[in-house]
Symmetry: C2
């Protein structure tokens, strides 16, 4: 993109020439960067929505008196009951918003300007950190819900809330792929800068 800008100015050295090159480059911008960014947008949005609408009502048998048969008590699991899941949804929403904005900037070919291109790479890197910490937090709590831990006396809850846990696992998987895509975007940007150097 930038090299083409340069060649444009070398040939004509005119603003109109640069604009023509910029318009012509719009199609080329629909390359890997566009595909990866679009996928990252979709996956982080899906991850935020899948966990953000996660809710399950069920009944759990509780024995109030040992001699009496257990009573079925209605219980509800909601995503915002766990702070790790709240962080996960917020992180994915931010990543989705960043992907959307950077996609628009890429399509508008504004990213051809060096400064904006570097700002996008910087925020791609921020998204790597944000999404991986979100995935780490949600996975830690999710695994605790799935397995429980006898040492700290935290019982597994996924036997009661199977649908809720499946949906959480799906959201975490989606977000992991989104995080890897942002990782790949940073790697490709670095390789691009390296190649041009």
């Amino acid at each position: 993109m930038e090299s083409q800008y340069k060649s444009g100015s070398n040939i004509g050295g005119l603003e109109s020439g640069e604009k023509e090159v910029a318009i012509a480059n719009k199609r080329k911008m629909r390359g890997w960067d566009f595909v990866l960014r679009f996928l990252a947008l979709g996956l982080s949005l899906a991850a935020a929505v899948v966990l953000g609408v996660n809710k399950e009502k069920t009944t759990v048998p509780v024995s109030l008196v040992p001699t009496m048969p257990p009573v079925n008590v209605p219980v509800t699991a909601k995503w915002h009951y766990l702070s790790a899941f709240v962080f996960f949804v917020v992180a994915n929403a931010i990543a989705c918003a960043h992907a959307a904005i950077s996609l628009v900037l890429s399509l508008a070919s504004v990213s051809g300007k060096k400064g904006i291109s570097m700002v996008i790479i910087f925020f791609d890197l921020v998204m790597v950190a944000l999404l991986f910490s979100g995935v780490g937090a949600a996975l830690a709590i999710g695994l605790m819900g799935y397995k429980g831990n006898s040492h700290v006396g935290w019982k597994k809850v996924c036997n009661a809330f199977d649908k809720f846990c499946d949906q959480a696992a799906a959201a975490i998987s989606l977000s992991t792929v989104a995080a890897l895509l942002f990782f790949l975007l940073v790697v490709l940007a670095a390789l691009n800068l390296h190649k041009k150097h």
Copy 2:
């Protein structure tokens, strides 16, 4: 570093000239990259050790029969009881090993070679992802131990294991700074490539 390699080969075009430039550059390499990498090594090592030696024995009053006074039961908290903490220690150990190896490569001026320099940047980025996910996982479990969660019936354990929790909090803080340093190393490398471009 790379540009100086280039100027060396421009002037002499000889391997000995390049070697002289490489030796002369050793001092210059003790710049920001060296300082940040060294700090990241120390902090990730400290984080792994602080959590890796974390162990606390205490007694918890347990009332076996409601009419009788509670009995003090000895309990132990160890870092490897929680899989999130195991992941955290392993992640920090890997980051520490990477920092040490990359530091040696930087000091030996081998990083002047384009390929190795890019490999170091790539693994710096891997460390960003690894450490942030480790911090996210450990923080999620740590906060659960500190606050508990009434919705899933997980009681807080930090009231009994105050020393254990303080040490875990210290390790998480150290690792967060190490993760931010690796983040900064990637940003500086990108800016460096951008500047040279």
